[in-house]
Structure formats: C-alpha cells, structure tokens
Amino acid sequence: MNRSLVYNLAGLRVRTVSCLKMPCYCLVIGLFPAARGVFVRVWLEIMGYLFSASNVSCTLPQGDGERVIFSDVSLDVTPGEIVDLTGPSGAGKSSLLTAFAKLNPNARGEFALQGRDCREFTVQQWRAQVAYLPQKPILMGQTVAQTIRLPWTLAIRNTSRETPTLTTRLRSFFAPAGASADILPDQRIRRMLVALGCEDIDLDRAPHDLSGGQAARVSLARTLLTEPKVLLADEVDAGLDDVNADKVATIMANAAAGGMAVIRVRHRPPDGRASRVLTLQDGRLTAASAREGGAA
C-alpha cells in the first residue's frame, strides 16, 4: 500500500515539474516559506484525488412516476486505491459504475478526473480514462487478438498518427482501421493473458469458443491494456474459480500499484486487497469497514 502511494506521489511530482506552474511555486515558496503548507493543502485538494464524484443520483422512469435508485452519492478515490462496492442485488451498484463512466442515461452527477471537471473532456476521452468493464463479456472480432485490439481501431485512440488526408479520413470514417499490431504487439497481449491465467488461449482462436471464465478475462485484458486511469470493474471475477479470481485480483492490484484506481463491484467474500469497502444500500453509499485487509 505504502509503496504504491510513494510511487504515485513520485509520479505526480514528475508531472508537476513538467508543468509551467512549478517555477511560480518555487518563487512563492522562496519568498514566503509559510505559504508552503497552504500550497500542499491546495495541491492535495486538487491533485490528491484521482477521481471524484459528487451528488450522483439515478432515477428510473417507472410507470407514471419514477423510482429513485440512489441519490446524493459521493465518492473520492486516490491513485492506487482499490475500492470494493458491495450491497444487495438491485441496489444499483452497476448503475453507479455506469454513471461514473457517463454511460448511464438515467444518472446525473458531477465528476472530476485529477481535478479536471468531466465537462472538459469529450465523453469519448472521459470513457477512455474512466473505463467501465461490463459484467457480461462481449467479445467482437474474428480472433482473440482482434478482440483485444478493438479499442485501437476507434477514433479516440487513432488521432495521434500521421496527419490524415481527406481519403484516409473518409476511409476511417466509414471503415475502422484494421489490425494495429504495431501499437499493441502480440507479445504484450500474451504477457497480459499469461498474467491473467490464460496462457492456454491462442491469439488466433475465435472468441466465440472461449469458456465463460476465459471470456471474462479476455474482456478484462482488453480494458486493462488501454491503460485507463480509473477501472470500474463490474463483477469481473463472478464466473471464475478461486485460483483464477485471485489471479485477476492480483492483476488489478498490480495495475493499482502503477497508479490506477480500481473500483470493483464484488459478490465474493473480501479478498484483502481492497483499501476500502463501501456498501450501496437503500440509495445510500456507506463505508462498510475502514481499511479492511491493509497491505496486499
């Protein structure tokens, strides 16, 4: 836990140095050493939370009126944190996660990523950073490799390549780019699959032939390889046996150690990896236990 936090702080510090605000900061600190404490507090306030959500509510239209699933839910997550979300089924755990990813048309709320309001992002940019991993693994494409490379065929991850001409722009508008093996080499996919306990999956296999547990892990691999800042994992380990559930949890813990924040919806007993366990019940989000488990 501590190790990852130090790492993250280091990571953030690197980012602040590259920022233009740093010289100003140094100047002010040099002139007024007492201002340092204020700066640190402001910095924590702005940069400390990787992801924050406030006043999140979700109402479903039902018959004539509407049913409130949850309201006024707030959550702040620091980098490297693993937050578990529990609660009775139907409490709206999935709805909360889709609300965070701005995928839920019935939900509204205020969200920020690294202190930047979600309105500063396009929805596509937001979802690439705050990635929702659906409960049902949907694998598109002819082969496992194609399935995992799918995110790189989308415009959101295709912008930084060579300046598009009219023809390439038109073509990419009507037909997505093909395999992007140069961006995501086979080796990296295989390493990820091995880490997830899927070393037996051939990359040329049809995703249709995978077992339920394998499909869930390929789906996880696809999202993890896009390297989001926040991972919203909706019961990823539901179809897995204990050994593989543990492998999945380890992978997510490693990702968290790299600075990712992970919010998991889980029905299994606690695995000791979560830094916090929250319960969503009767439309309220409450802390079930503080710092359950501790170090991973």
Partner: protein
C-alpha cells in the same frame, strides 16, 4: 409509342380479377389466411392504377409543369406514409428524415437523368418525369422500409455490444456502424439482385411495357439499364442519407445508448 399497340377492354380486367378471386378461394379452402388480403389488395391496386392512369392522362394532356410538380408532391407524401407503415419497430419522428432523403434522391434523379441524359422537350415532359419518379420511389420506399426496420432491430439485438463499444470510447457512429452496414446491405439486396438478373431471368417492367407498347427493344433495353443503374445508385444514397440522419436516435446527446421502438 407508335407502332401496333394492343388495348385491353373491360373484360380483360374482369378476367384478371377473377383469377385473383380463384386464387383467394383456393387459399380460403386451404386455410392459408391470405385470401381476403389478396383480394382486397388486388381491388385496391386496380382502383389506384386506374386513378393514376386518369390523373396521368390529365396531366399529360394539360402539359402544365405545376400539375407535374403537384402530382410528384402527392406521390412523395404517399411514399413517406407507405415507408412508415411498412417499417416496423421504428421510433416516432421518422417522417422528416424519410421525406428529406426521398426528396433529395428524387431531385438528383430528375435533374440528372431527365435533364442531363434524356433532355426531353419541354423539360418537364410529364410522360417521362412522372413514371421515372414513380419507379424510383417504388424502389427507395421498400429499401428504406427494410433498412429502417433492420437498423433499429439490429441496434436492439446489439445492445450489449453497443454498450461495450461505448465503454471502450467509441463514438455513437462507431458503435452504430455494424448495424448501419448490415441494414444498408439488406436494403440493397433486391436492387443488386434485380441488376444481376435483368435480361436473363426477367424482362423488367419498364422494358416489358415499352416492348408491349410497340417500342424498339434496343431502345427499351437502353432505357431499362439507365433506370436500373440510377435506381441502384440512388437507393444506396437514400439509405445512407436516412441512416446518417436517424442513427443518433439510438443515443442520448452524451452518446449513451437509448433503447427505441417497441
């Protein structure tokens, strides 16, 4: 339209109706349950065709461009109504996009085919413009109806896939694209099939009509090819136009999936 021309008298029509009635009777005996619809549709078609015949005769005789435009406008409105009644499971508010794509393709056809290729005198020659518009509309109507039904059906079937794509950062267009492609492909199937079979399996309606009316078969073939080619191109255009206008109906303004239709 010179040369020998064989007219049909009232008895001919009655015999044709009688044949439909016999077919309906057989289906009634076999309890296929389409006899009534068949008979009813046949009577309706006879009435509509006769009415169209009288109206066209009047418009051709009057030789007035305003009557031609009025007739085309009525045909367009009817085409929109038929498209919407044939398309199943589509949301409300489709009339505008359907009308727009029909008008655009019709204008292109009239300006391109009539005024650029055939160049009749006068420019609005009713006996040319009205049947051509009718043929184009007939094809686009069925293409649009099939395309629209298929698109919304496919979006319902692909619900989870669309959600997954959106979660991975896809735009609404990227998430809807597979459904758009499959619906356009399905909508164009009859058109491409008619292009391929023309002249071998079938003598298409227009060529048949011209030949029966005593026209030169070579001329008739040229006309027919022109019409088939233009219709194929324009139905694709109409379908693409309507898809680009309606695919957003399945999404909120924040690019979230939103189920539509029943």
């Amino acid at each position: 339209m010179n040369g020998n021309y064989y007219s049909i008298d009232i008895w001919g029509l009655l015999i044709a109706l009688a044949m439909v009635a016999i077919a309906a009777g057989i289906s009634g005996i076999m309890r296929m349950g389409i006899g009534k619809t068949l008979l009813w549709s046949a009577c309706r078609a006879l009435l509509q065709l006769c009415a169209m015949g009288f109206v066209m005769a009047f418009v051709i005789k009057s030789n007035n461009p305003w009557f031609v435009l009025l007739l085309i406008a009525v045909m367009l409105v009817a085409a929109v109504q038929i498209t919407l009644s044939r398309a199943t499971g589509v949301p409300k508010g489709m009339a505008g996009p359907v009308l727009l794509s029909l008008v655009v393709t019709m204008l292109i056809m009239v300006s391109l085919v009539t005024e650029l290729i055939i160049r009749p005198q006068p420019w609005y020659a009713p006996q040319l413009v009205v049947p051509l518009t009718g043929m184009l509309l007939g094809n686009t109507v069925s293409t649009l109806a099939v395309g629209l039904s298929r698109f919304f059906e496919s979006m319902r079937e692909r619900r989870d896939e669309v959600d997954t794509l959106l979660a991975l950062g896809a735009t609404a267009w990227e998430a809807a694209r597979p459904s758009i492609v499959s619906s356009i492909r399905l909508g164009l199937l009859p058109t491409t099939a008619s292009l391929a079979s023309a002249g071998i399996v079938t003598v298409p309606g227009m060529m048949a009509g011209q030949v029966i009316a005593g026209g030169n078969p070579i001329d008739a073939a040229k006309y027919q090819f022109l019409i088939l080619a233009v219709i194929a191109a324009l139905t694709l255009l109409a379908d693409s136009l309507i898809m680009s206008m309606v695919y957003k109906k399945c999404f909120t303004k924040d690019d979230q999936y939103q189920p539509v239709g029943q």
